[in-house]
């Protein structure tokens, strides 16, 4: 079929179709999906916003709801754990985590792109942590960082660095860094394969042309490959940032935000306040926290997007 006949047949069928749209079939195919989506995603989304104006506590088997206006949001400003621990920790993570991840994952993606020896093995190995549950990763690293018999401390002591064999998860200054490291360990492979896919999508001819023009490998990387990779880099950065902002599994298993809230993140604080808060279970307050935090994440993503996509 020539392109013209293809077009003509498309046009004629389309004009026929605009006259009689198969509404019944549209409803049958899209209806179940959209109804399901509205019940289980859109409704809860708005309900969370609604909840944030209420006090919702179970009393004697019944859930009691009282309207409190903006009280939950005001309480948020006076919540020391939220303001002084959860937010700074999560922001620290959201800045340090993606930075390290982007730098190393880009480097590794280039190395595999240029086919260093054993590149297939590396790709296979680096991707493995992504398939393993955050629970398994968290528990293994709880053991790795164990003060007495953990792999890290045993190794440090074996090479005579006893003073660095700390109680990694028991102090107040190190746990958040352990969390950042373990999450990096668990997710860098994702950024790596996405960047590798982005690199492989760049036509080989461009690189060859640069070579013919006398460019060195470094020049080709800096002047040709990196600029062409930029859209992928921005996408991967956004995915990585959003990943840190919502991460729950690894932190929850490693520390639950302990000790003394020193590794509390917004995700664990919402969970702690909503479902493990002893004494006064209240679903309104954590809802307000989730709403504020979602706003912050949206702004963060918007900033990354505007700022990096424009930069030349």
């Amino acid at each position: 079929m020539t392109p013209e006949t293809l077009n003509r047949s498309n046009n004629s069928t389309q004009s026929r179709r605009t006259q009689r749209r198969p509404w019944l079939w549209i409803a049958i195919f899209l209806g179940p999906l959209m109804i399901y989506y509205f019940i289980f995603v859109i409704y809860p989304l708005f309900a969370t916003v609604n909840y944030s104006f209420y006090n919702i506590t179970p009393k004697g088997g019944e859930i009691v709801t009282t309207y409190v206006g903006l009280d939950n949001y005001k309480a948020l400003l006076e919540d020391d754990v939220f303001i002084k621990k959860a937010v700074p920790n999560t922001l620290l993570w959201g800045i340090v985590g993606p930075t390290i991840e982007m730098l190393t994952a880009t480097l590794l993606a280039f190395l595999v792109y240029f086919k260093v020896p054993m590149y297939r093995f590396y790709r296979f190995a680096w991707f493995t942590p992504l398939l393993v549950s955050g629970v398994i990763i968290g528990l293994v690293f709880r053991w790795v960082f164990n003060v007495d018999w953990g792999l890290l401390n045993v190794t440090l002591r074996a090479v005579g660095l006893d003073q660095f064999a700390l109680n990694w998860l028991g102090r107040t200054d190190t746990p958040i860094w352990v969390v950042i490291f373990v999450h990096y360990w668990a997710t860098f492979g994702y950024s790596f394969v996405l960047l590798l896919a982005g690199l492989s999508a760049i036509p080989n001819e461009l690189l060859d042309a640069a070579k013919i023009d006398g460019a060195s490998t470094w020049q080709a990387v800096w002047r040709v490959l990196l600029p062409l990779l930029r859209p992928t880099l921005v996408t991967v950065l956004i995915l990585s940032f959003m990943g840190k902002m919502r991460a729950f599994n690894v932190v929850w298993v490693l520390t639950k935000g302990r000790p003394l809230h020193s590794s509390e993140t917004v995700a664990t604080w919402v969970q702690n306040r909503a479902f493990t808060w002893e004494g006064s279970l209240d679903l309104g307050y954590p809802s307000a926290m989730a709403v504020v935090w979602f706003g912050v994440v949206l702004i963060g993503v918007g900033l990354i997007n505007r700022w990096l996509r424009r930069m030349v």
Binding site: P32, F40, F121, V132, L151, F248
Partner: protein, 302 residues
Amino acid sequence: MAVENNRNTLAEADYSSRRNTIGKLRRNMGLVILTVVLLVFTMIVIIPFIWMTIMSFRTTTEILTAPYGLPSTLRWQNYARLMFDPQIAFYRFFINSAFVTFFALVFTVILSTMGGYGFGRSRYNFKFRGWLFVLLLFALMLPPQIMYIPQFTMMSRYGLLNSRWSLVLLYTASALPVSTYLMATYFSQLPTELEDAARIDGCNDFGMFWRVMVPLTRPALATVILINGIHFWNELLLAVTMVTEPTKRTLPAAMMMFVGEHGSNYAIAAASLVTAMLPVLILYLFLSDKFIEGLTAGAIKG
């Protein structure tokens, strides 16, 4: 023949700039150092898995006295105890996880295949379809924390708390946006002639969908099943929130509980981690390229 082959590889080496680069590197020591660095880095990635597998074959005393050591004998008893000791009976959590993963996958596949067909084919286009699609994809931005409190009260209202069905329903919801996106993209690439041919053969729209189109989407279906299956198998936040009754937990929640209760029995705990991880890793060994492709496809969502 030999000469011809030789010339071919030479020509390739000239034109393939990638191989050239390696050739240059090989001339100096750089490559050796680079390989050592990469191997150390890769060891850091792999060692925790190897360590935990070795741990699972030792006794807790052995682990505590010599964390690095190898097992004196392979203690398969650890696994037997983990699975069938009536106090632990870990197999129940396997059944729970398999149940939840299976039914959530069935729901996801049905809804996203039909929805993907409706969104992907130009035959079903109407004025606000694009908007609806954007609304659906909007959920990719949502962290689970922004929805799970009302989801919890919803499940509590309908008596589904502590039921595995609550997880089936919510996992399906979380998987729909990306799955529908993947299916819709795939369906939109199938030629219109297939519809015409099916119509001539007397199919109605459902027959067109079921007999002609769906069998052609097997690669996309495999991706949807793979990426969501891993996610359902490993999920923790909803699993600990919706299900608190010990016997109904899925594997991730059970492992957390188990390590909390039998915290000092590291050998059995390690065995529980290895068994939970094994099904996915075995699949990965055989289908690693498919896994990597699938997770990459799931992320590129425009």
